[in-house]
């Protein structure tokens, strides 16, 4: 069931929950007319008077006493009822009539002395009975009229109560509908929107921006999703780029190797003999290049799986710097790699990785000093840390690109004419990971157009680690 359907159901339940007790409460709070409150009394009055009247029809002499005492109790009650009636706003003529009749009958009865009962002639008795009968009948008539008046009051009251209940019903309904649309607009629709966006992003549509900007939890959720989307987009694009670059880079040495062998196939023996030294050197160089590319790819995936482990040994930093500089000097005859200062300290670290860092940095310095020139190398020990720096007077790194230099697959000069063949954009990323793994730091100062100085530190370490 969708959220909207659930919300709709919940709304209906809440509507019923509010409506039933609401209308009952409402009815009890409605002002009931005073007259209606005494209806029951009028009913019993009429009832008792009717009983009395019936009894009087066949009254006998000896029963006069009983009739008198019965009347007296009824008469008191009637007085109470009349008193109540006078407070209800019923037309005064009603209760005045009742009062008068009541007093008349009372006087009739009081006029009869108990002792005289036997002396009453048949005629007198008939008159008495007739009078009482007549008056009681009047009272019953008044009671009926009163009741019919009250019936009208009741109807008026009931229809008014119905109007109130209907108005209440309508009000609750309107509130519920408003609430439903409010909840839908501000809670359900954003969630549906988010769900759609995340589904699209999941399908690989990384340009699908989550459009919510409210400053609530949903807003921060969509911001988080947007950030995730951007990161995913960047990572996916970087990976695609990396793959295509890696394929491209691998093809270059393969092309050289293939062309070399094909050329040799078409040569005769003397030509082969002449060509062989060059071929061997070329093949060796291309194999080294291929190896470095493969190692880089492996290191990147190893770092991703967090499987990189340092293989530490104790070695002389000066020797390492000399070796690297010696090898790298062959790359370009336009550049001079100059060792200004070289520490004599031994260091406990992963030699292969430190060498790769130095090679990557020097490689960048050479690459991004296209006009050639001096590259200065310094190594020294300070605060129990090895410090190495490499300075060039190359093209520098533009300020806006400096923050991304150590990112994976990032090439500061990607798409510019300084792009070199042997670059997959992982060199500095790997270097930073290696140095950090050693507990050291790597960084650079660069001014565009003036040059760059890369530096890194590595703790000297001690033999106990081995």
């Amino acid at each position: 069931m969708s959220i909207k359907a659930k919300l709709f159901l919940a709304n209906i339940l809440m509507f019923l929950a509010a409506l039933i007790p609401g209308s009952v409460l409402l009815r009890s709070y409605l002002e009931v007319p005073q007259s209606l409150k005494v209806t029951r009394n009028i009913y019993s009055l009429v009832h008792e008077l009717t009983l009395l009247n019936n009894a009087m029809v066949d009254i006998r002499v000896r029963d006069i006493h009983r009739a008198k005492s019965q009347w007296i109790s009824i008469s008191n009650q009637i007085e109470e009822y009349i008193d109540e009636l006078s407070h209800t706003g019923v037309d005064a003529r009603f209760y005045n009539t009742l009062d008068e009749t009541n007093n008349l009958i009372r006087r009739l009865f009081l006029g009869i002395d108990t002792a005289d009962v036997t002396t009453l002639t048949e005629e007198q008795r008939k008159f008495l009975i007739g009078q009482v009968n007549l008056k009681t009948h009047d009272m019953i008539m008044v009671g009926h009229i009163l009741l019919s008046v009250m019936q009208e009051d009741l109807q008026v009251f009931n229809s008014r109560a119905l109007q109130y209940v209907l108005a209440f019903f309508f009000l609750v309904l309107v509130i519920m509908i408003l609430e439903y649309f409010f909840l839908t607009k501000y809670f359900v629709e954003p969630i549906i929107e988010l769900e759609k966006c995340v589904t699209d992003i999941g399908k690989g549509d990384f340009d699908r921006k989550v459009p919510l900007s409210e400053k609530d939890e949903l807003g921060s959720l969509s911001q988080a999703i947007n950030k995730m989307r951007k990161d995913l987009k960047l990572l996916t694009r970087s990976k695609e780029e990396f793959l295509s670059t890696a394929a491209h880079e691998l093809k270059t040495p393969i092309t050289v190797l293939k062309t070399t062998t094909q050329l040799m196939e078409g040569m005769d023996k003397s030509e082969v003999t002449k060509f062989l030294p060059y071929a061997l050197k070329t093949i060796n160089r291309q194999c080294n290049l291929l190896n470095k590319l493969v190692v880089d790819v492996l290191e990147v995936s190893r770092l991703e799986l967090e499987q990189t482990e340092l293989r530490k040994s104790c070695f002389s930093m000066a020797t390492l710097v000399d070796e690297v500089v010696h090898n790298m000097s062959k790359i370009s005859d336009k550049h001079s790699l100059i060792i200004q200062e070289n520490t004599s300290a031994n260091i406990v670290a992963d030699r292969t990785r430190i060498e790769e860092v130095l090679v990557n940095i020097l490689d960048n310095s050479i690459k991004y000093t296209p006009g050639g020139g001096d590259v200065l190398i310094n190594s020294k020990v300070e605060n129990n840390q090895l410090q190495v720096s490499v300075s060039d007077h190359g093209i520098g790194i533009p300020k806006e690109r400096q923050a991304k230099v150590f990112q994976r697959f990032y090439r500061a000069h990607s798409g510019t004419s300084y792009e070199q063949v042997t670059s997959m954009g992982v060199g500095l990323f790997l270097s930073k990971q290696f140095i950090n793994k050693h507990g050291g730091e790597i960084g650079f100062n660069s001014i565009e157009g003036e040059g760059t100085t890369f530096f890194f530190t590595v703790p000297l370490g001690n033999q106990d680690e081995l």
Partner: protein, 121 residues
């Protein structure tokens, strides 16, 4: 034997050297440039070759920039360009810069000879 002239614009010195060797054996006059700028300088100096073999990714001036400048400078009398790239879709690269022909790296020498032969007639 022919006196047709080919200019190779390729930043990998080994590949440049080997291609030159191969084409020279077929009798072409081959010169090499390390990037687009050098290539333009060489054309200035030695005159228009009969075919330009152009790598795309190069330092200083890459294939894209070179072809742009080249077409501006020689709108009608420019030599045909043959793109030589390791990109996934070398044909698309060739179309991008309006080159007359293309060959993907790594290539068979026979294929290179055939394509070059077809371009220079």
């Amino acid at each position: 034997m022919t006196d047709k002239r080919i200019l190779i614009v390729e930043d990998n010195p080994d590949l440049s050297m080997l291609t030159k060797l191969a084409l020279s054996k077929k009798g072409y006059q081959v010169t090499c440039a390390g990037n687009g700028e050098e290539a333009l300088a060489l054309i200035e100096k030695n005159g228009m070759p009969d075919l330009i073999l152009l790598d795309m990714k190069m330092p200083v001036m890459d294939g894209w920039e070179f072809s742009k400048v080249f077409r501006e400078r020689f709108p009608s009398n420019g030599a045909p360009i043959m793109v030589m790239t390791a990109a996934q879709d070398s044909q698309a690269r060739a179309r991008e810069i309006g080159a007359e022909s293309f060959i993907g790296k790594p290539f068979e020498l026979q294929e290179l000879f055939l394509t070059v032969g077809r371009m220079i007639r």
